[in-house]
Symmetry: C2
Subunit: 194 residues, 2 copies
């Protein structure tokens, strides 16, 4: 891992824990055994650092959408829920920055962050819309259903901890069931009762 990647990783940790504005460049430098000013040999500005972390997270989430299995909407939705939760589990700091700290970017860079988030949300919306069109999902308002699902998914970064009581596998299995039920899918997938 080159120096710049190291900086990005530590910046992700600090931004997610303390928040963007509460993290100073000197503090970041200290974690890398550098002097404050030395950071600027590798990066342009604090804000560029924030955007870069957002980009890394966006890439991971986007990959989940791209690697979704083709097939019936239930299978796709399950894979989406599991993939989303896996990214959060594996990339908690970056995911946190993606969900929150992006707001502290200012106009030129802010637009890119918004676009990255919008792109992902539209991907989720597409999966749901497909299911509705095929009559598999039964919801009155697909847009609202999407917001509901995104809300349930996104907020998980607030409470999910890798060392929690539920394994990622169990968690995402059950979470997928809850999502599918909300979307009006009648019980009885591959594996039985509810």
């Amino acid at each position: 891992m080159d120096r710049r990647s190291q900086i990005l990783t530590i910046a992700g940790h600090l931004f997610s824990q303390r928040g963007y504005h509460a993290t100073s460049m000197r503090e970041l430098a200290r974690h890398l055994n550098l002097q404050g000013g030395s950071l600027y040999a590798h990066i342009q500005s604090k804000e560029e650092l924030l955007l870069e972390v957002v980009r890394q997270a966006a890439e991971r989430f986007q990959k989940v959408l791209e690697e979704l299995p083709s097939g019936d909407p239930v299978t796709r939705m399950k894979a989406l829920v599991k993939g989303h939760l896996r990214v959060i589990a594996e990339e908690l700091p970056r995911a946190t920055v993606f969900f929150h700290e992006w707001k502290h970017l200012s106009p030129p860079l802010l637009e890119e962050a918004k676009a990255l988030r919008r792109r992902y949300e539209e991907g989720v919306q597409e999966v749901i819309r497909e299911g509705v069109e095929k009559g598999v999902f039964q919801v009155e308002n697909p847009r609202l259903a999407t917001l509901f699902v995104l809300s349930a998914l996104n907020w998980t970064y607030q409470w999910y901890r890798p060392d929690g009581p539920l394994s990622l596998e169990e968690l995402s299995e059950q979470y997928a069931k809850l999502v599918l039920r909300a979307l009006g899918v009648r019980e009885g997938g591959e594996d039985g009762e509810a």
Copy 2:
């Protein structure tokens, strides 16, 4: 509204928009036509201000729990969803601070904020647990179901805007249906189809 209440209201707006650390006391003072130092005639510290805003929001959310109708779990859950969304609609800045900015408090005050949030979350959990015990809600893991519902509810402050396409009434009606379905309640409440 006395001066202190005004300060708290504007602080809520600024903290929710720019974030706690990105809001300076001078900026807050400017919005109140004061000099920076004059704020300290009414408050003790910036951090006390943050906690106070959290307290105000917590009070509103807690009131929703206290005023829940007694009766069957479905009715109670519906009222909870509607009440929660109404607080977010009516108190968006304070709600935002309650959901996010509280993290920037430090240890003595932080504990109180955590306790306020925990109390509300346990209230929600109780409503769900009741429904499960009475056999009205059908979920494998009540704790996880609670986290799911809280996630769906809490994240709404991120996208709900009072001037959006859906009225609060329509929104919360449909949101309640999605929540109830996720909790395994079969269709057909007071008002028909899905």
